[in-house]
């Protein structure tokens, strides 16, 4: 799996992401500066990592979403290429129009930095095939604007088409108001595009991939992507 990790001013999770990608695939990820107008040849996966691109000025992800490299990412996605956006990366994908909806300020206004449980809603996608449907995984979140919102029609479409892949839940998989840490509509933690090749999620699977991190639940996402690409090849 050849990965390209986008780098914007103010991004700070690109090295964590590159490490997780190397661990899963054996390949060193290429770092791609935001001013580039093309992606490296043979890219299998584009990752938009977390951080605070452009200091969250204007709206989270708004300025990064308009940078030159994003035109190349839009073309890549239009051809069916896999794109993963985590945290600020999810915000950037929403602002760039690659995913519907928007990430608003957390309902209780606090920046939330802790482990959360996620329920994997289905296992038949490139982004979840490393897990079982209904499986509960533990991964960290670190965000102030993770409250996913979209209009009623969009939410209905996302649910109807099975495009909600990850939802905030309790340790035993229960989804309710108490486990919805940031007020997101339908407890949404991660969604895919209509074609299923672009995933945006607020939690950080790349930070739970090695024993030293205390948990390896995030590995399944990357292992699943590697398996998907090996099968496709």
């Amino acid at each position: 799996m050849k990965s390209a990790v986008l780098v914007f001013p103010g991004i700070n999770r690109e090295r964590d992401m590159a490490r997780a990608l190397k661990l899963a695939s054996g390949h060193e990820a290429k770092m791609v500066w935001h001013a580039e107008t093309s992606l490296p040849n043979g890219t299998d996966l584009v990752v938009v990592p977390g951080g605070f691109s452009y200091g969250d000025y204007l709206r989270c992800g708004a300025i990064a979403a308009r940078s030159p490299v994003m035109d190349a990412v839009r073309d890549f996605a239009a051809q069916g290429g896999l794109v993963l956006g985590v945290c600020n990366g999810f915000q950037i994908l929403c602002e760039s129009g690659l995913l519907p909806g928007v990430l608003m300020r957390n309902a209780r206004l606090k920046f939330i930095c802790r482990d959360v449980h996620l329920r994997v809603e289905r296992s038949d996608t490139p982004f979840t095939r490393g897990y079982n449907a209904g499986q509960v995984i533990r991964v960290p979140v670190a965000h102030g604007e993770g409250n996913y919102e979209a209009d009623e029609d969009t939410l209905k479409r996302l649910e109807g088409e099975g495009r909600v892949l990850y939802r905030y839940c309790s340790a035993d998989g229960l989804v309710d108001e108490n486990t919805n840490l940031n007020g997101a509509a339908h407890s949404i933690a991660g969604i895919v595009s209509e074609r299923g090749n672009v995933l945006g999620m607020m939690p950080h699977p790349e930070n739970h991939v090695e024993d030293i991190m205390g948990c390896t639940d995030g590995r399944g996402l990357f292992a699943g992507l590697v398996a998907h690409l090996q099968q496709a090849a």
Binding site: R66, E95, V102, A107, L109, D151
Partner: protein
């Protein structure tokens, strides 16, 4: 030519920041505030002097960047 673009949240969109400000005003004893919605104001200096062109430029700026029309409305005022 000076202009102003005002960006506001669409009605029905939850505004936790506005709610927090509303609560702070109440705790400061500022009476008579029913509700607060927070928005943004952009004061923009335009290079040309053509008013109709100015409006088109500002609308383009708002649509492309200043507002996220999923959740926000905007108003364009050319101040002259």
């Amino acid at each position: 030519m000076k202009a102003r673009v005002t960006v506001t949240l669409k009605s029905g969109i939850l505004d936790p920041q506005g709610k927090a400000i509303e609560g702070a005003l109440r705790s400061l004893g500022v009476d008579g505030v029913a509700s607060v919605r927070q928005g943004k104001v952009f004061d923009i200096e335009l290079a040309g002097a053509d008013k109709s062109r100015a409006e088109a430029v500002l609308k383009e700026a708002a649509d492309k960047l200043l507002a996220n029309t999923v959740i926000e409305n905007y108003r364009v005022d050319v101040l002259g």
